[in-house]
């Protein structure tokens, strides 16, 4: 028995099966990301004065990633439009571009995560705070035994509040250089991982979930571009619908980024 409405629209809904399915799925995704954005707003509003970080993320990298995703939305649309006018070669080209753009996005995101995991805030016994990126540590470095040294490239501040606004004039003027810190002088140290503070926690949660969506979407697009594209020869209309559905998902993921970028990078 043939499954109805895989290609043509059902009269009462005006949709074919896959399109109804993707919109239901996207509705659940709106609730998922909506919940996280709500959590962000509540955490931000509830944060005490001077405790919410500003300028911790690189706006230039965020802007590049925004451009990459915007371009990938265009290539996704063009890939679908190419199939609508029966130009399979153009479809292949545009979807290959989409995958390249998506992988570049993930590469940049990985670099940003790497950068955060190598960024340390070190509270020293004299009350000052050393903040910077990991350079090297001596072979005998052991924080518990208080042996060895830990080298960072950054600066030393008197108050923790000075680290919260990296766009302030003070932060811009700060001289960054290498600091070799003896383990015996360290009271506490931790990197800018999700557990560092509320901002890093919500940043990694939201951007990580978004990156997983990008990865999932890329895998689907790769399947439809590669082995899945055989359907073009047997059932071109249904294949075009599949591309439209994957394009709807991709646009949703891009749309989430349009909100994530100002919320995380421009705060």
């Amino acid at each position: 028995m043939e499954i109805p409405y895989t290609v043509h629209k059902r009269a009462d809904t005006g949709l074919y099966n896959a399109k109804l399915g993707i919109w239901l799925f996207l509705a659940s995704e709106v609730m998922l990301f909506g919940g996280l954005f709500s959590a962000y707003i509540l955490l931000r509003v509830g944060a005490g004065e001077g405790t919410w970080p500003h300028g911790w993320l690189d706006v230039r990298l965020g802007t590049i990633n925004t451009i990459l995703l915007a371009l990938s939305a265009i290539t996704t649309l063009l890939a679908w439009a190419a199939l609508k006018v029966k130009e399979f070669g153009k479809f292949k080209f545009f979807h290959a571009c989409t995958m390249l753009l998506a992988l570049t996005f993930l590469g940049i995101k990985s670099y940003e995560y790497y950068d955060k995991f190598h960024h340390y805030e070190i509270q020293l016994n004299n009350g000052t705070i050393a903040d910077g990126h990991f350079v090297e540590q001596s072979a005998d470095f052991d924080l518990a035994k208080k042996t060895g040294t830990f080298t960072i490239h950054g600066h030393i501040v008197e108050r923790h509040a000075e680290l919260m606004d990296m766009r302030s004039d003070e932060a811009k003027k700060a001289k960054h250089e290498e600091h070799v810190i003896a383990a015996a002088d360290i009271k506490h140290m931790e990197n800018y991982s999700p557990r560092h503070n509320t901002f890093t926690a919500i940043y990694f949660t939201m951007s990580g979930l978004h990156a997983l969506h990008i990865l999932g979407g890329t895998l689907v697009i790769f399947y439809l571009w590669g082995p899945g594209s055989r359907m073009w020869k047997t059932d071109p209309e249904r294949f075009t619908n599949r591309i439209e559905v994957s394009g709807l998902f991709w646009h949703f993921v891009d749309l989430v980024w349009v909100f994530l970028f100002p919320v995380l990078y421009l705060t």
């Binding site: 609508k84 646009h251 949703f252 349009v258």
Partner: protein, 61 residues
């Protein structure tokens, strides 16, 4: 809603983002980024017009 309609929503929000970023940059004292944001917004609008013309025959539903 077809991919065409969803793309139109995306382009509209992207335009808003560009102008929003321009306003943020001017407020932060960065004229170059502000001008770049406005230029990007205008570019996205022009693209939107181009895309609507190119996909005239495809339905919004």
């Amino acid at each position: 809603m077809s991919l065409k309609a969803f793309h139109l929503i995306f382009v509209t929000l992207l335009t808003a983002l560009c102008f929003g970023c321009a306003a943020w940059a001017f407020n932060a004292g960065s004229t170059e980024w502000g001008v770049a944001g406005i230029a990007a917004g205008i570019l996205v609008i022009l693209y939107g017009i181009y895309f609507l013309k190119k996909l005239k025959r495809i339905s919004y539903l």
